[in-house]
């Protein structure tokens, strides 16, 4: 008997088909609207939180499907989005700022399936809606900042060692120190070299001036860049957490870029504001010795500067900074007790508290200004060239008379709204960015478009599949049915593998699946055409089947390996949609080779293999 598989081959096919079914089935279950409660840095989600949330929901008669505590926090599932939204408001209000409460869609896969790790594919943003940002870290600024720090360090070093210099400035060549004599420069150089041996020092003379240039070594610059990227990612993660988005993606891409994906986020303006801004506060004394009118007329006194006040007007502040935002460890928004206006409550670290307490003690009864500083980077095209424009917004948000010595905790008022207060607290709390970030790519997909994309992609694949199955059956009769079964197994396996890999399904990914289905039939066509040819040549049906499958195999392998090469290169070099497409294409080729060769042969062997007197094939 030539057309018979050993038992293990039948079993292998059977097991793979069953496994394929099991692992692709989670994609058919929908998603439950859910609420995710996650901890912040200072809090923990435990069974006490669970009980509290449960109580809250019961109080308001909000019915939920389930409430589970897992590693990420608390997940509450609801039957409809209306209850979900109501519950979010309630829970958020009750838990306050200590927890992140986010709307989520949780896959409603039955427990016995999740137990065997059968999970649905993750839907890409184009299918579920949300925002995607690609952000670039301004590495030039990171290096510059680092050099500016060195300028300060050198100043302190020279002062401590009583070394004389004329000026220290940061220029494009690095930190530039000007000296009067060669000897002074020599001494300073030795001191700098001893203290900061990784700095690259260069001497240059110009007339009677002696210059010393200090710049970062290549290795140091690399290190600075690496650290800047890492710190920015951490900061972004904190900020995204504060936004309360479920399942966000924050990933490094390349040497200086970060991808941030926020599924389900609608308010992109706010997301952008929070992610991209670098904000800090400075506390300066008001220069009460001079008048604003004089300064406005152009007579700005030395040691002071004119600032714009939020809400109009100007104020003259002293140049010396009492305290910078670096010392802030926590910031929370709230309502000021006395007049009910929005306020931000600030907590300082030990060093900051000491500085601030001293400074305020000396200045009781005098006015102090709170300066809000925000750095923004925008890209503009000027005369066809790309230019980065960094703008710094400095505003005095509050001027208050210091009533008493201030310590570790105090509050600032003068904010426009509670939202304003919340945003400021968030920015101060989430930490500073090491270097400015610039959005180089942004994509927003509305949720309705996402849902439509799924339906269209799914429908077109289904209808295409049906058309192919019909056509194959008409052309190859019963063998066409077998090919259609093999094709269905192919789709099943492909989806199962993609689900197992937890691949992200996107619209081009669906297109990839569809195209693979169209092309996968090729293997069976090759085989069936061979069988027909053998029959025409007068061979017996059994021999024709055998020869058909055997002879076509070489061709199938050759033609598929070339496509596989194409798919693989696509995956290595592509980004975004191209990559998603490549993954499905590559996996699709592998599964289609298995299903078209093994599965269809198994069916044929099972049906025809045992028959001794096979006179005719339905092909």
């Amino acid at each position: 008997m030539i057309n018979q598989y050993p038992l293990w081959k039948y079993l292998l096919v059977l097991i793979l088909v069953v496994a394929g079914g099991l692992y692709s089935v989670p994609n058919l279950y929908g998603e439950d609207p859910a609420l995710q409660v996650s901890p912040t840095r200072t809090t923990k989600v435990d069974s006490a939180t669970l009980a509290r949330v449960e109580d809250l929901l019961k109080q308001d008669g909000l019915s939920y499907k389930s409430i589970v505590l897992d590693t990420h926090g608390l997940l509450v599932r609801f039957a409809d989005t209306e209850t979900q939204l109501k519950a979010k408001d309630k829970v958020k209000e009750a838990l306050g700022n200590d927890y992140v409460v986010a709307l989520n869609l949780a896959p409603s896969t039955p427990r016995w399936l999740t137990a065997i790790n059968a999970l649905p594919m993750y839907l890409g943003l184009d299918l579920r809606g949300g925002v995607h940002f690609l952000m670039e870290v301004d590495m030039g600024a990171a290096v510059k900042q680092s050099e500016e720090r060195y300028a300060g360090d050198l100043r302190t070093l020279f002062r401590d060692k009583k070394l004389r210099y004329v000026t220290i400035t940061r220029t494009n060549k690095g930190v530039e120190v000007k000296f009067r004599t060669r000897e002074e420069r020599g001494q300073a150089r030795d001191a700098a070299h001893k203290e900061y041996n990784s700095l690259v020092l260069k001497e240059e003379d110009s007339g009677n001036d002696y210059y010393l240039y200090a710049s970062l070594s290549e290795a140091d610059q690399r290190e600075v860049r690496k650290l800047a990227l890492q710190q920015n990612i951490t900061t972004l993660r904190n900020r995204v957490n504060e936004l309360g988005v479920s399942e966000p993606v924050i990933q490094q891409q390349g040497q200086e870029r970060v991808v941030v994906q926020l599924p389900g986020v609608q308010d992109t303006a706010r997301a952008k504001e929070i992610l991209g801004a670098t904000a800090t506060l400075e506390f300066r004394m008001v220069d009460e010795g001079h008048s604003v009118e004089d300064a406005l007329a152009g007579r700005v006194p030395a040691g002071a500067r004119l600032y714009k006040k939020r809400g109009g007007g100007q104020v003259l502040l002293k140049n010396q900074v009492m305290l910078t935002g670096d010392y802030i460890t926590d910031a929370a928004s709230g309502i000021e007790q006395r007049n009910g206006s929005p306020a931000v409550f600030i907590t300082l670290d030990g060093k900051g508290a000491a500085i601030f307490s001293n400074a305020t003690k000396e200045n009781v009864g005098k006015a102090m200004g709170v300066v809000f500083i925000e750095n923004k980077t925008e890209t503009r095209t000027v005369d066809g060239k790309q230019e980065k424009v960094r703008s710094k917004v400095e505003e005095v948000i509050n001027v208050a008379v210091i009533q008493e010595q201030l310590g570790k905790r105090f509050q600032i008022t003068g904010l426009d709204s509670t939202t304003e207060a919340r945003n400021l607290a968030l920015l101060l709390r989430a930490g500073a960015l090491a270097a400015p970030l610039e959005i180089v790519e942004e994509r927003t997909v509305g949720p309705s478009l996402g849902a439509e994309n799924i339906t269209k992609g799914f429908d077109s694949t289904l209808i295409g599949f049906a058309a192919i199955a019909l056509f194959m059956t008409i052309y190859y009769h019963f063998f066409g049915v077998i090919a259609s079964v093999a094709l269905a197994v192919n789709v099943l396996l492909l989806i199962a593998v993609l689900s197992l890999l937890q691949a992200t399904l996107t619209l081009p990914g669906i297109a990839g699946i569809a195209l693979t289905v169209g092309m996968a039939i090729d293997a069976n066509v090759l085989i069936f055409e061979r069988i027909r040819e053998e029959l025409r040549n007068g061979n017996s049906p059994q021999a024709s089947i055998h020869a058909g499958y055997d002879r076509a195999l070489d061709t199938i392998v050759d033609s598929n390996i070339t496509t596989l090469i194409a798919g693989f290169a696509l995956f290595m070099l592509g980004s975004g949609p191209v990559r998603g497409f490549a993954v499905t294409l590559c996996i699709g080729i592998l599964t289609s080779m298995f299903s078209a060769v093994m599965v269809s042969r198994a069916v044929v062997n099972l049906l025809y293999g045992g028959r001794r007197k096979l006179a005719k094939l339905s092909i």
Partner: protein
């Protein structure tokens, strides 16, 4: 049912000269279109802002245009996208204005006019990202070609590798040429389609080559042209069948997949048609003209895989 009960081999190779002229002319025309008109690159490549909105009723494009011009967006292109309610607004990377903020400004001014406007999609791409994409895309094309040539040169013979790559380049350039001619939007998804065409076309060509190689061993008497004609005729049925099934799927995407998949499917449709043609009438004549002979495939025969079979 069977479409092709062809008793005698079709003399494809005798058409070789005329098809070569047709192919060369089409190829040249495509190159000219590419150079003269260029591809209508999507904002993924060029940088810029794209906004898709949906109105509750049919959108009045004139009003939207006027509104945008008033808002200072003079170079905005406004057009319907799919249905009368869907509108696509496109802005190139603009002088002196941060493009990331643009979408919000535009949406705000549209909302003033009609509060029922729903944001469907916003895309903003910085110019530097686009440049990288073009480079990566080009690199991908070159590497894929090299990989395929190497594989074919090892599995078959160098003449087959050349034939396959010329045929494939022919297909890709013609698809690109048509996109340039009609100024259809060339997006990242279309690039994926072009690379898929590359795979499909080679796939198709390899099937014919495989049969040619087999015929060299079996048909000891025939001339080279006869051997190739026989190989093509015997695989023709399969070539057309596979074309039809793939096309069924692609048509389904073309008509039902929505706007996003439309150009993807369109590129595939053209690619499959041209690819089928080229695997029959471009790749094989080239192999013949490069002077393939039975002796060239002797080393492969020594492996003796086929000969030992029953």
């Amino acid at each position: 049912m069977e479409f092709f009960r062809i008793k005698r081999d079709i003399p494809f190779m005798s058409y070789g000269r005329s098809t070569a002229v047709i192919s060369a002319l089409t190829f040249l025309a495509a190159v000219v279109f590419l150079i003269v008109r260029g591809l209508n690159l999507s904002i993924e490549f060029t940088g810029g802002t794209l906004i898709e909105v949906r109105y509750l009723q049919a959108a009045e494009l004139q009003k939207i245009r006027a509104e945008l011009t008033d808002g200072g967006f003079h170079d905005a292109s406004v057009q319907n996208f799919g249905t009368a309610q869907d509108v696509m607004i496109r802005l190139p990377a603009k002088k002196g204005v941060s493009s990331a903020k643009l979408s919000e400004a535009i949406l705000a001014s549209l909302r003033q006019q009609d509060s029922g406007v729903e944001l469907r999609r916003v895309e903003f791409v910085g110019p530097q990202v686009g440049e990288e994409l073009i480079n990566d895309g080009g690199l991908a094309l070159i590497l894929v070609s090299i990989g395929i040539m190497l594989y074919l040169a090892i599995r078959f013979e160098w003449r087959f590798a050349v034939g396959a790559i010329v045929a494939t380049a022919h297909d890709v350039v013609i698809v690109l040429g048509l996109f340039a001619l009609f100024q259809w939007e060339f997006s990242l998804t279309v690039l994926a389609a072009v690379l898929a065409i590359l795979g499909y076309s080679v796939n198709d060509t390899v099937v014919v080559f495989d049969r040619i190689r087999e015929n060299f061993r079996k048909m000891r008497k025939g001339t080279i042209a006869e051997i190739i004609d026989n190989a093509i005729t015997r695989t023709l049925s399969r070539t057309i069948m596979t074309h039809v099934t793939t096309q069924l799927m692609v048509f389904s995407m073309l008509f039902l997949g929505g706007e996003v998949l439309f150009y993807f499917a369109l590129a595939l449709t053209i690619g499959i048609v041209v690819g089928t043609y080229s695997s029959v009438l471009v790749a094989s004549p080239i192999v013949m003209w490069l002077g393939i002979s039975r002796a060239d495939l002797v080393p492969v025969k020594k492996e003796g895989e086929v000969d030992q079979r029953p």
